[in-house]
Symmetry: C2
C-alpha cells in the first residue's frame, strides 16, 4: 500500500465522504410526499438514513473505481445495496426475530413506528433496491442491470442472507460447531458483502480474473468482519456502538469468539484481512482503498 | 366474444390448466435441499403452492399470448408475479398486520410455521420474484428483463401495493370516503393487477397503443375485482372461500359495499368489467381469454 496511513484519519475521511455521497443518493431515491401512505416512505428513510459507516456501499464504489465506472452508476448501486442491508436490519430487529430496541444509537424502526410499519418499510426498501438496480440511470447496458438484480437476489434470498437468518433462528436452541457457524455467517453476512465487492466488477464488465479476485477478497474479509463483530459483542462499548452488546453471550449463542477464544479469534481476523488484501495485488495501488478498508474492518471499535 | 361460453366450464378449465402450468414452474424455481436453512424454502413453497385461482398469472400469460411471447417466458413471468402476490399475503396475514389464521382453507404461514419464518419466507419470495424476472431464461433481451424488474417494483413498492397496505392499516380508525377507498384499492390491489396485464406487452415489446389498452383493461378490471372482493366479504361462504368473511364489517371498515350498498356495488362491478373488456377490442378475438376473465372475475364466488 502507498500513501497516507489508512488509520491516520485519512481513510476514515474517505469512508465518511463516501457515506455522505451515498446518503445523498438515498435521500433523492426516497422522496416523501404528503400522501397518507407516505408514512411507510418515512419509515424507509428512518431506517436507511440512520447513519452508519456504510461499509458495503464503500465496497461497491471502491470496487467500481477499479474499472473506471461512472460515479452515478456506482453510487446508485451502492445505495441499492444499502437499502437491502437496511431492510434486513429492520426485519431482523422485529420482536418475532432478534427483538432489538436499539440500532445505531436510535430506537429500532418498529419501536419508533410500530411493527406493521416496520415490516412494510423493510418490504419497500427491498423492493426499491431492485428497482434502483433495474433503472437505466444505474447503467446504460441493460444486461449489466439485469445481472446486478440476479446476483443481488441470489446473495440476499433464501440461499443467501435470508437463509442465514433462518439458520440463525433455528440454531438458537442448540450448539453450533465451527463449520456450522462458518456456513451461517457465510450466508447471513458473507453473501451480501460478496455482492458488494462483485458489483464493481459487474458494473465495469471486468475480466473474470479481476472479478474472482474481488470475490476472494470479499470471502475472506466477510469472515474477518463477522469475527470482529463477535469480538465487539464481547469487548465493545454499548454507548459507542449504539446497540446492545453481550447479546450472544447472554443468549448462550456460540460464536467464533466462544469457540476459539478472543485471542485466537483476533489473530484469525487479522490473518483473514491480510489474506483478503493479498487477493487484490493484481490491481496494484488502484486497490489501496479496499486494502485500507480491510485494515479498518479489523481495527474498528463499532 | 366468440367460442364457448366462458362460464360454461370451458373458461374455468383454461384457468385451471394455466394455474397448473404456473405451479409447475413455481415448483421448479423453489427446490428444497436438506440444508438447515431449507425451512424457509419450505415455507415459501407452502405459501406459493397453496392453490388458488392464479388470476394474476393468468393475466400475464393471456396478455403475453397477444404478442406471440414464448411459453417459458410468459410462465416464468407469471410465476414471479405469483411469488410477489404470495409474499404480500404472507406478510399481510401476520399478527402485526391483518392477523389472519386462515388462507385458501389452510392455516396461514405464520400459524403453520411461526412468525419469524413467515416474515423470512415473504422476504425470500419477494427476492426470488425479482431474481426470476432478471434471469436470462425469462427473456433473451436484457432490456425487457430490466423493464420487468422496474415496473414490478413500482407496482408493489411504497408507491404501490405496500403503500396501499400502509394506507389500509392507517385508515382503520377513521372513515374513508369514496375517493380514498378508490385510491387505497388502486394501490393495494390495482397496481399489481396492472403490472400483470402490462407484463405481456413488455415481454412482447408491444406498440404503445396495445400496451395502453392492457393498462386500461387492468385499471377497470382491478377495481371490479376489488368490489367483488368486498361483496364476497359480505355475501360469501366462509367454507367455500377458505378464509374468514365478514371481516370488514366486524372491523367497522368502510368498503365499496358499505358506501354504495350491495346492489349498486354489484352494478358498478358489472359496468367496470364490461368497460375493461371494451378496451381490448383492438385485439379482436385474440383477447377472448382476457374478456372471459373479466366475466369470471365478477361472477366468481370465491
Amino acid at each position: 500500500m502507498s500513501g497516507d496511513s489508512p488509520m491516520g484519519g485519512n481513510f476514515k475521511d474517505v469512508l465518511m465522504a463516501n457515506a455522505e455521497a451515498v446518503e445523498e443518493v438515498l435521500d433523492q431515491l426516497m422522496p416523501v410526499d404528503g400522501s397518507p401512505e407516505g408514512r411507510v416512505t418515512e419509515a424507509m428513510r428512518y431506517a436507511a438514513l440512520a447513519g452508519g459507516k456504510r461499509i458495503r456501499p464503500f465496497m461497491v464504489t471502491a470496487s467500481a473505481s477499479l474499472f473506471g465506472v461512472g460515479k452515478i452508476c456506482a453510487l446508485r448501486t451502492a445505495a441499492a445495496v444499502e437499502m437491502a442491508h437496511s431492510y434486513s436490519l429492520v426485519h431482523d430487529d422485529l420482536p418475532a426475530m432478534d427483538d432489538d430496541d436499539l440500532r445505531r444509537g436510535k430506537p429500532t424502526c418498529h419501536i419508533h413506528y410500530d411493527e406493521a410499519t416496520a415490516i412494510l418499510a423493510g418490504d419497500a426498501l427491498l423492493t426499491k433496491a431492485f428497482q434502483v438496480l433495474g433503472e437505466e440511470e444505474t447503467h446504460s447496458d441493460p444486461a449489466v442491470r439485469a445481472e446486478l438484480v440476479v446476483e443481488m437476489a441470489k446473495a440476499i434470498g433464501d440461499e443467501g442472507m435470508v437463509g442465514g437468518q433462518m439458520f440463525d433462528l433455528m440454531a438458537q436452541d442448540r450448539t453450533l460447531n465451527m463449520p456450522e457457524i462458518t456456513h451461517l455467517q457465510r450466508l447471513k453476512t458473507g453473501k451480501l458483502i460478496g455482492f458488494s465487492c462483485e458489483a464493481g466488477a459487474i458494473l465495469g464488465k471486468a475480466p473474470e480474473k479481476a472479478r474472482n479476485a474481488l470475490i476472494a477478497y470479499a470471502h475472506d474479509l466477510g469472515l474477518a468482519f463477522q469475527i470482529v463483530d463477535d469480538l465487539l459483542d464481547v469487548e465493545g462499548d454499548e454507548k459507542e456502538m449504539g446497540k446492545k452488546v453481550g447479546k450472544d453471550l447472554s443468549a448462550g449463542k456460540e460464536t467464533f469468539v466462544s469457540l476459539m477464544g478472543a485471542d485466537r479469534a483476533r489473530a484469525q481476523a487479522d490473518m483473514l484481512a491480510g489474506q483478503a488484501s493479498n487477493h487484490l495485488d493484481l490491481f496494484a495501488e488502484k486497490a489501496d482503498s479496499l486494502k485500507y478498508l480491510a485494515e479498518f474492518v479489523i481495527k474498528r471499535r463499532t
